[in-house]
Amino acid sequence: MISAKNLTMVYGTDHKAVDDVSFEIGKGEIVGFAGPNGAGKTTVIKMLTGILKPVSGQAVINGYDIVHEPLKAKSSFAYVADNPDVLLQLTGLEYISFIADVYKVPAEERAPRIKEFSERFAIADALDTPMREYSHGMRQKLMVIAALIHEPPVWILDEPMTGLDPQAAFELKQMMREHAAKGNCVLFSTHVLEVAEKLCDHIIIINHGRSIYQGTVEELESRHPGKDLESIFLELISYKKSEGSED
């Protein structure tokens, strides 16, 4: 459902942010995308969603090339950006309605979905309030609801848990599982390895713009016996702990 083939991205004239990254995500899969800050996670996601055009390589969503068939590709995914601060003068409901209009969600389907999602994320009582008055977490919840309103087969979520309260984070994880169980797929970036460990079928670890691991968490742990996921991750990204730091 998501196919990244040799994706490479250069910012400006000389800053290679992503270098030859490839992966495939099939139906029913939840894939976690991990890596330190500045590793290139968001850049890969931006190439998958059509914000950036790869210098080389190809991104295909649900069978559609994002560069050559952008409208079909974009109709196939839900995207939650890492920054929920957009069109903040609108009320939550106005923003959701706008996204639903763009995706041409029929009116009779729209209302029950808004009701269901807003109740699951406990934001129903704030939908008629301008988003500028929302907390970061509330904006993030709204972005998730708006992204999912058209029920696309592919979810691409950039740091979706950031700012969410435990209840909302639980609901989102639950929804991700339900979505994958229906034969769809989810790609999400995260810094929280425990989330990846519990939720993902596969993880992709990226560092300095290059993919350094792709596989299941179990495979990764079996390659590094006796170590927890955090230690393995730090080893993979060649992190040297400072002297005297807690083990």
Partner: protein, 560 residues
């Protein structure tokens, strides 16, 4: 095209600056809105209408019915083109909503159409009113000169109504096309600075053309401008006729009451829009990709080699303000470099008017102690310019809005509110006052006033600036506009700037009127009036600083 409708609706809802809804602040903002309309909108429209009437009358007497009106529309189109370039460029490629909207199933043409339509309306509201005033002035001149209402027909009236709303279209279409073409060129260079140079180039080009059109005519005056139009040797007008080709068609439609030219005018406006959308179809998406991929290799700093000096909280806050202003193109252009407009304007005025009889007479009278009225006019000019210059740069009236979403910083850093406030005040002063002083130095060169007069003018300018800065800071701290999509929006959509300008104009007008009446209606000498002016300004400044400081700090405590 329903996506265009949805996007347009969303932009409209997102554009408005939230204002206080109840309490004293709400009442104050309503009063400010009334002041703004009465002190800026109505006077501007009346002046434009009056100038159009005078120029049109002169041109009609010389046998050209619409030339004056057309030349004014050309000047307005040039302003739209030059000042619209950066706005359109930022709206199309660098607004913060870009990365959200491009992931939606919307074609680049739809996104372009919606952004353009919204910007066109948002940017042109004042222009619509000024155009309306121009056409009113033109029709008044028609009635006066031809002594009949039948001097213009239904086609003229219809065209005036249409042109009021359509005239700003072509310059902004040019802005969009230039933006997309430049962005396509930037694809390989990836250097946005080129764009700012292009914008500066256009500004200088049109100023040069305008000034060239007065060559050998004895100075920049309305009379000389009309003479050059009559002689049909006005370079500026001739080039604008080609560039803004819709304007001469409008002129012919109105002059000849021609329905064919009227239809041609409509077509001439539709075709550029179609061309823009066609170019957008092929270039806009690529431009968006380029905008998203700008950046440079991260630079490493060796902490051991850093020349770190401890500075006071005040100095740190001040440096932060300065760096933000100078490193943000929107702020450096509109808040910092705009202050050079005044000294350059003074020099240009005196150089270009060196053969103008009225100006030469004024200089002569100014240096004649028997005619103190000339010195009084100079004093009034200093007061008016100081108020307007201090408000126009918006340094004070956007001081808190510029903090944007991170305005909370003011609350949680361990620096007192007064220290942060003084840093903002000093920032406004260091960019405003040198411009005023340079203007005075330039004026001194041409008018040869003595050191005491210079000091009095300098003190007057400082006091007027102080009042204006405190007023601006008070307004912006009361209701800062912190939710904006890009830095240009922080300035454009900020009603505090508009209101500060209105209040400054009102105060300047009242003060100048009071001084003038005092001088004319009493036996008070120029010295007495000058002392009174200084006392009034000193008292007003001290009071504004004392009360303003308290109001601003109270407002800062309530910021969120």
């Amino acid at each position: 095209m329903s996506n265009v409708k949805y996007l347009f609706g969303v932009y409209n809802k997102n554009f408005e600056m939230p204002l206080p809804k109840k309490g004293f602040k709400a009442t104050a903002y309503t009063a400010l809105a009334i002041i703004a309309v009465t002190c800026i909108v109505i006077p501007c429209c009346l002046i434009v209408g009056f100038i159009t009437d005078i120029m049109s009358t002169a041109m009609m007497m010389a046998g050209s019915k619409t030339a004056a009106l057309m030349s004014e529309i050309h000047i307005m189109s040039v302003f739209s083109l030059v000042f619209g370039l950066f706005v359109i460029f930022n709206v199309l490629f660098f607004s913060s909503d870009r990365e959200h909207l491009v992931t939606l199933p919307i074609t680049p043409t739809e996104l372009l159409a919606a952004k353009f339509r919204h910007t066109y309306i948002a940017e042109s509201i004042m222009e619509f009113l000024v155009l309306l005033a121009m056409f009113a002035g033109y029709f008044i001149a028609c009635v006066k000169n031809y002594e009949s209402l039948s001097s213009f027909g239904i086609i003229s009236v219809l065209m005036a109504v249409i042109a009021t709303f359509v005239t700003p279209l072509l310059p902004l279409v040019y802005c969009a096309i230039i933006s997309m073409l430049l962005m396509a060129l930037l694809r390989n260079v990836k250097n946005v600075k080129i764009f700012s140079h292009v914008s500066d180039f256009f500004l200088l080009l049109f100023i040069g053309l305008f000034l060239l059109s007065f060559r050998d005519s004895g100075g920049v005056t309305v009379t000389n401008y009309i003479d050059s139009l009559l002689a049909n040797n006005n370079l500026f007008f001739r080039i604008c006729n080609i560039l803004f080709f819709t304007v001469p068609i409008l002129g012919k439609a109105m002059e000849a009451e021609s329905i064919i030219y009227a239809i041609l005018y409509l077509l001439a406006n539709v075709i550029p829009v179609a061309v823009m959308l066609l170019i957008g179809k092929y270039l806009y998406q690529e431009g968006l990709y380029t905008a998203a991929s700008l950046g440079s290799k991260h630079k490493q700093a060796d902490a051991n080699k850093l020349n770190i000096k401890l500075t006071s909280p005040f100095s740190t806050c001040f440096k932060k303000e300065i760096k933000v202003l100078l490193r943000t193109k929107a702020y450096s252009n509109n808040c910092v470099y705009i202050n050079l407009l005044w000294p350059i304007g003074v020099v240009l005025f005196f150089v270009l008017s060196r053969k103008n009889e009225n100006v030469l007479r004024f200089i002569e009278l100014y240096n004649n102690p028997s005619y103190p009225r000339a010195a009084l006019i100079m004093m009034l000019a200093v007061i008016a310019i100081s108020f307007i210059a201090s408000a126009l740069n918006t340094l004070a009236s956007t001081a808190f809005s510029r903090e944007g979403a991170h305005v909370d910083l003011i609350k949680y850093i361990p620096v007192s509110y007064s220290t942060q406030l003084y840093a903002k005040v000093l920032t406004a002063v260091v960019f405003t006052y040198p411009g005023l002083l340079l203007s005075l130095i330039a004026a001194q060169y041409f008018l040869s006033f003595n050191a005491l007069a210079f000091l009095i003018y300098a003190l007057t300018a400082f006091l007027a600036m102080t009042i204006c800065i405190v007023t601006g800071l008070s307004m912006d701290s009361a209701a800062p506009f912190t939710v904006w999509s890009d830095e240009y929006s922080a300035l454009r959509g900020n009603l505090n700037s508009f209101f500060n300008m209105a209040v400054s104009m009102l105060v300047a007008f009242l003060l100048c009127a009071l001084i003038f009446l005092l001088f004319e209606l009493t036996t008070a000498s120029l010295t007495t009036v000058t002392i009174l002016v200084l006392i009034i300004l000193i008292v007003a400044s001290v009071l504004s600083v004392i009360f303003g400081r308290k109001i601003i700090i109270d407002n800062m405590k309530e910021l969120y």
